[in-house]
């Protein structure tokens, strides 16, 4: 790829969203200052970094707790998701039995489920991991199943003419061809995973960013609440980017395709 064209594309990709963001923040700042709105009601954006820095130690501790819950939830949902997807893809009966339940799992309202899980499992980390898993499981399973179904029948037949076993066909053709869609699912899961953890923390926890937000809100530390919220967003974005990077490293053959489709 031409480097100058490459950096120009990069610039073109990042400038519009950043400019829009800056514009919104500027509008916010001006509204607060000119309207003389009380900072506990709506702090100016410029007050948020200050609030984060002032409470950096605490925020870091809570961030690490949330991050731990999210990562464990992602690992559990990935393993569970892959096993479920493979089972669904291989056994039509299981597809009919399991798929509706998988869909149902995504339709359960978290505000209802979260308190129940806390009652059952206590204030510890387990209910948070379960909530993250519940949110992440669905996109991973659905995408991986689609990926496993998307395999080229002719490629499977070609392997059969080589005398390949079902297992060899799975390892050498079906699973690799499902990987791009698996990663799409994982990317979606990574972006939304934070929601599950925060839900659990808001309802019953002794640490984590959700707990921090719940603790600071009644004290009218509004800037700190915004700060924690921004950290949560950054966490989601960072996880998304990490999955993207893993995809880049693990699926080198997709790079060219990705570059081509971007032009």
């Amino acid at each position: 790829m031409n480097t100058r064209a490459g950096s120009a594309t990069l610039l073109w990709r990042w400038v519009p969203p950043l400019a829009l963001l800056a514009l919104l923040l500027l509008g916010w700042e001006l509204t607060v200052r000119l309207g003389e709105i009380a900072p506990w009601l709506l702090p100016p954006p410029s007050a948020i970094p200050a609030a984060i820095i002032a409470d950096a130690g605490d925020l870091l501790r809570h961030t690490l707790v949330t991050l731990q819950e999210v990562l464990l939830g992602l690992v559990v949902s990935t393993l569970l998701g892959i096993v479920t997807a493979v089972a669904i893809a291989f056994f039509p009966l299981l597809e009919r039995a399991l798929y509706p339940l998988v869909v149902a799992s995504q339709s359960v309202p978290l505000p209802v489920l979260a308190p129940l899980l806390i009652i059952f499992l206590g204030y510890g980390i387990v209910p948070k991991i379960l909530l993250v898993t519940l949110i992440c499981f669905f996109p991973i399973v659905v995408n991986t199943v689609d990926g496993l179904h998307s395999v080229d029948r002719d490629a499977v037949n070609l392997l059969r003419t080589f005398g390949a076993t079902r297992w060899q066909i799975f390892v050498k053709v079906r699973w690799p061809s499902a990987l791009p869609l698996f990663f799409s699912g994982l990317r979606v899961a990574a972006a939304v995973s934070v929601i599950g953890a925060v839900f659990g923390e808001l309802i019953g926890a002794s640490a984590g960013l959700g707990y921090y937000i719940r603790h600071e809100t009644p004290l009218f530390h509004t800037a700190a609440v915004y700060g924690a919220t921004i950290i949560l967003m950054l966490l989601g974005i960072a996880l998304f980017v990490v999955v993207r990077a893993a995809e880049w490293v693990l699926l080198p053959w997709r790079r060219r395709l990705a570059e081509r489709s971007r032009v």
């Binding site: 490629a155 080589f162 005398g163 050498k172 053709v173 053959w253 060219r256």
Partner: protein, 286 residues
């Protein structure tokens, strides 16, 4: 038991057509390939050529008839025939080298040994320097040659090539034919080659079969008594042109009843009627 690499007798196969009525793909096909022989099969599209290959490769089992492979009638044929389908089916996540060693991998050949065997053949297949390239970066001709190298490495008693050059442009195609003739004349592997291109069929073959439209039957078989090594000049030689005229006539005659058919002709398939005891109406959509 015969000395042939492949003996096919009375092969028949039906599929469920639109509306559930059985569709006879091939009917009473007899076919022989001697060891080291290059046999081509020409037929119009929809004559069941690919069905025939799926049967010989062991991907499907025939309704009628037998397939004898190197003297063996029963048992699975999977893993004993090297099949090159119409699509090159190179896996996009594997490099060219890793693609061509796939059949060896499946057979449990050690990785280094498989790579060694494959690499030795790369120059001959015009792929030297592209071992680490992904197939999506290769040209059509190179993809074809890589798929063919994979087929050759698959081994087996028989090479089945199903219109391997069908997707290539005319120029690349004729280059590939000349190249294939060269490779084959050195290796002399028993080969069955499907095509709908009469020039290609004659140019490559020791012997050829002409098939009729559905249900596919053998309309004609003839040996090709043209000198080897084959060169492009052959395409305009009188003997070549005479044979081509004869084959085109056979293809046209074979296709005649279908050509005359109006939009939808219900035809009574007598063979099916006899075998099942009741008449079967088959719709031929054109």
């Amino acid at each position: 038991m015969s000395g042939a690499a492949l003996t096919v007798r009375g092969l028949g196969k039906s599929f469920a057509g639109a509306g559930g009525a059985p569709l006879r793909a091939i009917e009473g096909v007899d076919l022989v390939a001697a060891p080291g022989e290059f046999v081509t099969i020409i037929g119009p599209s929809g004559c069941g050529k690919s069905t025939l290959f799926n049967l010989i490769a062991g991907l499907e089992e025939p309704d009628d008839g037998t397939i004898e492979l190197a003297g063996q009638v029963g048992g699975s044929r999977l893993g004993r025939v090297a099949y090159m389908p119409q699509k090159d089916l190179l896996l996009p996540w594997r490099t060219t080298l890793d693609n061509v060693i796939l059949p060896l991998e499946v057979r449990g050949v050690r990785h280094e040994e498989a790579r060694r065997q494959a690499l030795a053949l790369f120059p001959q297949f015009g792929l030297a320097g592209f071992e680490g390239a992904y197939p999506q970066t290769l040209s059509g001709g190179m993809r074809s040659r890589a798929a063919f190298l994979r087929t050759v490495l698959a081994g087996g008693v028989l090479l089945l090539l199903d219109e391997p050059f069908g997707a290539l442009d005319a120029l690349t195609r004729s280059r590939m034919q000349e190249w294939l003739v060269g490779v084959w004349e050195r290796e002399r592997r028993t080969t069955l080659f499907i095509t709908h291109d009469v020039d290609e069929a004659i140019f490559l073959a020791d012997r050829l079969y002409v098939m009729t439209p559905r249900p596919g039957r053998i309309a004609l078989t003839t040996t090709v008594d043209l000198p080897r090594p084959r060169t492009p000049e052959l395409l305009t030689a009188p003997a070549f042109v005479a044979l081509k005229a004869r084959l085109l006539r056979a293809l046209r005659d074979g296709a005649a009843p279908d050509d005359l058919a109006p939009d939808l002709v219900p035809t009574l398939d007598r063979t099916l009627a006899q075998s099942s005891g009741e008449p079967v109406i088959e719709g031929v959509r054109r």
